[in-house]
């Protein structure tokens, strides 16, 4: 066992932290206030090689590993959870299934654009009546000659303003779960459009849209994997995606904790820094400990995946624990700041609003408990 990050990983942390402080942090509050997804920031992430961290260089990637990717998402989320999830959805949910299940042509055509950051990617699974019960989707895909025609809609799609989506649709209703197939959809395909932008509690600077398919023509070469393999692709994708969310949650918690620690040492009441009161210092001690544990679980999951070992249980545990930690830490961070914590002039209320979704998406924490319980059995 070795609990030290390699020099390469330390370097990546340093590099992403500097990028985050310089290019992302200064506008985080404003982008949240205006509910504005800033594509330029994503483009800059591409320029410094963040958008394809784990993929081979032949596909435009950085040739690094999942641990480096987790560190990058964590450092971005520390200053802006919205940009953290933008990268996470882009890599884990869109790029990964293409990397894992795509043909060489598909990888050359799509993975490269994603890795370089010239295209932004998303994952179209969820529908109004298919959340936790993803298999109950209604979007259909009918093979007609050289094209699949897609009809239906998806909601709550991260990076909805992007160009490339891995979309799941029913190719054979009679087969239930085994009738779902996965497709690579380019936003330029006829019949594709985006619906409304979701008005959210937090991660307001992340792009979250409805995707609409009205006789959307997808070339049959864009079938990802085989017909009927879609559900397996979705579930294995989410296995890895949860590691990204674990990293996002860890980052959010870290940012909130640092702000609270800092504030408590400067703010004086009753003639001394409020840090001196056990009520406050013990709260911070609990926060720090949980973040440490969350980080270790997150890195373990990433390392396990990178080693080529089964990582489903590790990533589920990491996501569950880190997101619960983020919710608790941010709620307490607002408390440490007192009245100022409730003001939008200080960052912690935004972090608390951002934290909540990490307990819900990419599998609610209840689903995660189900997943973990299955591994225990």
């Amino acid at each position: 066992m070795n609990f030290q990050l390699s020099p390469e990983h330390e370097m990546i942390r340093k590099m992403v932290r500097e990028f985050a402080e310089k290019e992302v942090a200064p506008t985080a509050a404003e982008r949240d206030e205006k509910e504005h997804f800033d594509r330029n920031i994503f483009n800059k992430m591409g320029e410094i090689g963040l958008t394809g961290i784990p993929w081979e260089e032949q596909y435009g990637g950085a040739g690094s590993d999942f641990l480096a990717y987790a560190i990058a998402v964590e450092e971005l989320s520390r200053v802006c959870a919205s940009m953290g999830v933008t990268l996470s959805a882009h890599i884990s949910l869109c790029s990964w299934p293409i990397w894992k299940y795509g043909t060489e042509e598909q990888k050359q055509k799509y993975l490269t654009r994603l890795a370089e950051g010239s295209a932004l990617g998303g994952f179209g699974l969820t529908e109004p009546n298919a959340g936790s019960d993803a298999a109950r989707m209604l979007t259909t895909a009918t093979l007609e000659g050289d094209y699949y025609t897609l009809n239906g809609s998806k909601i709550f799609i991260s990076n909805g303003e992007g160009e490339i989506f891995v979309v799941f649709a029913m190719t054979d209703k009679s087969k239930g779960v085994k009738g779902i197939s996965a497709f690579i959809v380019d936003s330029s395909f006829p019949g594709f459009s985006i619906g409304g932008h979701e008005k959210k509690m937090g991660i307001r600077a992340a792009s979250t849209c409805e995707l609409l398919f009205a006789d959307c023509k997808v070339p049959k070469e864009n079938l990802l994997g085989k017909e009927g393999e879609g559900f397996k692709i979705a579930m294995t994708t989410l296995d890895g995606g949860r590691g990204g969310i674990a990293a996002q949650a860890t980052g959010i918690a870290q940012g909130a904790f640092e702000a609270a620690l800092n504030y408590s040492q400067g703010r004086e009441q009753f003639g001394q820094p409020i840090f001196n009161f056990q009520a406050v210092s013990f709260m911070l001690a609990d926060m720090a400990t949980k973040i440490e544990a969350a980080r270790l679980l997150t890195y373990q999951a990433a390392w396990t995946e990178g080693q080529g070992m089964p990582y489903g249980k590790a990533s589920a545990m990491a996501k569950l624990f880190a997101s619960d930690t983020a919710m608790e830490v941010t709620t307490n961070a607002v408390q440490v700041f007192g009245g100022y914590g409730y003001s939008r002039e200080y960052p912690v209320e935004r972090m608390m609003r951002d934290a909540k979704i990490t307990q819900i998406y990419e599998g609610t924490n209840e689903i995660h408990r189900l997943v973990i319980a299955r591994y225990l059995k």
């Binding site: 979701e198 408390q335 007192g338 009245g339 608390m352 819900i360």
Partner: protein, 381 residues
């Protein structure tokens, strides 16, 4: 002991509930999104005679007892937490100071108008350098003949700009510590008194919260409330009632969240059945309901003690701490139970969660509440 509300209290509760659900609840999302003072709500409340529920009838109030007032705050808050706190501030710390400590002239000048809703009241204690450490406030009141000249500023003041009269705390001599603090009644249009920036908050967005700025603001001695140096005692005496009021607000928010979570989980189907059927969901709801039940009993107990003029400081702090911690817990779980939908502004629970957080902070942080409770334990009661 009797755990049943009296006929009268039950009837009041039904009245408040129906009014709030019909006239206040439908607009809560709008007021939150637009961050506007809910003037329409206030007009409707005034028309019902609800702007002075616990104020004696001789002063134009409804003459209800304190428990009735607490039930009122709970039901209004259940419909709209912002409106709930506006009322709690207006009554508990906007009207009661004048009613209990005012001279006859001051009561004649203000109480009737506050009770009718013609005037809105506010309370200005907190400053940037004095939150929990309220006694360390800096706003000064320099005596000049028959006047006091106030200099300084207050922060996080509810109803800022919309209130007509403000109970303001300033010190005549910082060297005297808390014994220099003196209370004043400042009319909004007093020269030298201006409303500063509107606070942009996480929630409770229709509760307009501002800075108040006093620049050589001259107030005649007739606007002094109580004696010089009595201010801190006045502030402390209002705390119990204020805390129970906020406890009721927290309770109302929690109840609204539970109501919505129950409604949603019974009809939302996944895996072929209502999600309520899954133990993960139903057990969460069971926990939420139990915490609310306990919170309600603590709040009503504190209200009962106060109504009967029995000592209630420990119970008031317990109620405030527990009910608001419950509100935070219940609303966070409610968002969870509504899943992705719960995170959108199309459903009310994310607003309830944003509203709940400040209830753990204001009117004495829950850390200060624990201090109060601990001291009571130490003294043996």
């Amino acid at each position: 002991m009797d755990f049943k509300l009296s006929e009268e209290h039950a009837a009041s509760q039904r009245l408040f509930h129906e009014f709030a659900q019909k006239e206040i609840a439908p607009y809560a999302a709008f007021y939150d999104e637009s961050a506007q003072f809910p003037r329409e709500n206030i007009n409707k409340l005034a028309a019902q005679g609800f702007m002075g529920v616990p104020v004696p009838e001789e002063w134009g109030g409804a003459g209800a007892d304190f428990l009735t007032y607490i039930i009122f705050i709970e039901e209004i808050s259940r419909a709209c937490a912002s409106t709930g706190v506006i009322l709690a501030v207006h009554t508990s710390v906007g009207t009661f100071p004048v009613l209990y400590f005012g001279s006859e002239e001051q009561k004649q000048k203000y109480v009737r108008k506050l009770a009718s809703g013609e005037y809105i009241g506010a309370y200005a204690l907190t400053e940037t350098g004095s939150g929990s450490d309220a006694a360390s406030l800096c706003t000064s009141a320099r005596r000049e003949g028959d006047d006091y000249v106030l200099n300084g500023s207050k922060v996080f003041i509810s109803n800022g700009g919309h209130a007509d009269v403000y109970t303001v705390f300033a010190t005549v001599d910082r060297n005297l510590g808390s014994r220099g603090i003196t209370a004043f009644l400042a009319d909004r249009d007093t020269p030298g008194f201006s409303i500063g920036a509107i606070e942009k908050k996480m929630g409770l967005n229709a509760d307009i919260t501002t800075e108040l700025i006093f620049t050589d603001c001259r107030l005649p001695a007739s606007q002094r409330l109580g004696q010089e140096g009595e201010g801190f005692r006045i502030a402390m005496s209002l705390l119990d009632g204020g805390r129970i009021g906020i406890a009721a607000q927290g309770l109302g928010i929690a109840q609204a969240a539970l109501d919505e979570a129950l409604r949603y989980t019974k009809q939302r189907e996944q895996f072929g059945e209502p999600v309520f059927n899954f133990q993960a969901v139903s057990f969460k709801l069971a926990n939420m309901a139990t915490r609310i039940e306990a919170a309600r009993l603590l709040v009503y107990q504190a209200a009962f003690l106060k109504t009967n003029s029995l000592p209630c400081s420990k119970q008031a702090s317990m109620a405030k701490m527990y009910a608001t911690d419950t509100a935070m817990y219940v609303t966070t779980e409610a968002v969870q139970l509504l899943g992705g939908n719960g995170y959108t502004r199309r459903y009310p629970v994310e607003r309830l969660m944003r509203d709940a957080k400040v209830t753990q902070i204001y009117e004495g942080t829950n850390q200060i509440q624990r201090l109060v409770i601990a001291r009571a334990l130490q003294k043996g009661f």
